[in-house]
């Protein structure tokens, strides 16, 4: 069977649990999974020494991995990764990397995979309005949507091999600008609470922020909110021309559920909608719908969550 290589997903200086999901996917695609961990300090890999489903762990150590540089990262990872099917996460950065590694190895890339049956991979097309099923022949690079595959457990044991990787940077970071708020970005969060035009004013987003803080969630927005209010930046926008998100839980508040908004969030694992209009399209996609104004529902939601989580 084909060998597989998983590129670990790194988040906030740690190997993200998404990596366990990538290994599951790799184990469907082939055998003999090598986990490659891009790092500047190989102790990062110690954290996953007990991860299951792998036959080899490589800590690919290089100063190239300090900041993201597509070309340098692809070069460095290509130099240490064995041949085989390569699996990455479908985050914005890792999709970019997946495409570069594929081109470097002269193979194709299949992005945003949500199901694997034999050598048939499924990916959403037309923003999830349809699914494309493709057959792969030979080695490819595959990026996997988070929160779709169940992750492998952490009861294995595997020796970690540290390899110095090298790559040439082709861009230079001039400045890192931190977000004004310490809150998570929608692309990094496992729970998102988003507000739409129905929030009435940007000030009312403070109610969403309070709940987000209780849940460790990010705050998102519809395009109507972003376009109408200067205080709501485009970086919060979820949808066709915003971010595509796959959280465990997406709470839509005062959002009608236009097709372009759904494009960015319909594959969330659980969707909760709060809308005063019982006929709002968002309810067709919601696992749990609350027909109510947010003014009535959010205080109840907030105190129920606080009680449960305290």
């Amino acid at each position: 069977m084909t060998e597989t290589v998983v590129i670990a997903e790194i988040n906030k200086g740690k190997v993200s649990p998404t990596t366990n999901e990538l290994i599951s996917a790799a184990n469907i695609l082939g055998s003999d999974c090598t986990l490659v961990i891009p790092c500047t300090d190989s102790s990062l890999a110690d954290q996953v020494s007990n991860i299951s489903g792998v036959s080899k762990i490589i800590a690919a150590k290089s100063s190239v991995f300090t900041n993201y540089d597509a070309s340098g990262w692809a070069q460095a990872l290509d130099s240490v990764a064995p041949q085989g099917i390569i699996v990455t996460a479908a985050s914005a950065q890792s999709k970019d990397l997946a495409a570069r590694i594929a081109a470097r190895r002269n193979v194709s890339v299949v992005q945003d995979v949500i199901s694997i049956v034999g050598t048939t991979l499924s990916t959403p097309i037309y923003s999830g309005k349809a699914i494309e099923n493709v057959a792969i022949n030979g080695n490819v690079v595959v990026s996997i949507r988070p929160n779709v595959f169940a992750g492998v457990s952490n009861d294995g044991s595997c020796e970690i091999q540290v390899i110095d990787a090298s790559g040439d940077l082709s861009t230079a970071v001039k400045e890192l600008v931190e977000r004004a708020s310490a809150r998570l970005d929608v692309s990094e969060a496992n729970i998102i609470i988003s507000g739409g035009r129905g929030m009435g004013s940007p000030d009312n987003f403070s109610h969403l922020e309070a709940i987000a803080d209780t849940l460790g969630a990010a705050v998102g927005a519809s395009r109507a909110a972003v376009d109408t209010w200067d205080d709501i930046p485009h970086s919060m926008q979820v949808g066709q021309t915003g971010k595509t998100v796959n959280p465990n839980l997406y709470i839509a508040v005062g959002i009608s559920g236009a097709i372009q908004h759904l494009a960015g969030m319909r594959s969330s694992k659980y969707i909760v909608a709060i809308n005063k209009d019982a006929d709002a399209p968002i309810f067709q996609y919601a696992d749990y719908g609350i027909v109510s104004t947010w003014e009535e529902a959010l205080p109840v939601l907030s105190s129920a969550l606080s009680n449960m989580l305290s």
Binding site: S71, S108, S127, K174, T241, T244, D287, I290, V291, L298
Partner: protein, 251 residues
Amino acid sequence: MFIGDTMVKIAVLVKQVPDTNSKIQISNDRVDLSSVKMVMSPFDEFAVENALLHKEAVGGTVTAITVGGNSADKVLKDAKAIGVDEIVRLDCTEYMDSNAFQTVISGVISQDGYEVVYCGKSSADTGSGSTGPGVAEKLGWASVSNVTDIQFTDGMTVTVPAEGGNAIINVSAPLVVSCDKGSIKVRKPNVKGIMMAKRAQVDVKSVNPNPSNVTVVSQTMPAEKPAGKKFEGGQSAETVVQLLREEANII
């Protein structure tokens, strides 16, 4: 008046896709696009705008390139109407996997001597976001993706999202820039532009793609999601929190 000492040869990749409002239907295992309205892929509008701003800042030419059949001439004319200099269509309607597709594009880019390529961060149909970085790798060029802002003073710097905020990055040609929506406004065509675009000649080139190793088996509708539970009144938020814990197991 040009600030730079050379004229940059810029290419912008534009793709025709169904209007994002259109309903997608399947017939015979394939998406049926016969009755949908086709438009320029939304992020490509930002790519065109950035390409024009680049030209205006340093001098040069902008060529819009698409890969498709006759019907794709329309997006080229749309780009022409807002100011690109040349329009090129690589004539091909057959399916290409990412490797075959990027090989075709990078071949034309290097053959025709472009120095900077702009494209969308992902196309509205595939959503894959592979073209920019893939083409750059094939050319051995730098690439930056999900770019929301570009400055052309003091060389060229771009803004991209980074963990915890944004990174401002110094870049230089040769380079591929994949564009996200940013704060720039996309210009609209004027009457003169539209008239010029009507008369403009599309430079059609034939291409000879390599065989694909990834093939489409079928296109299908997504699995219906089972109907959810709907509650009346704000008080029900308490029930929903309960369900999120006990039924969904997520909080």
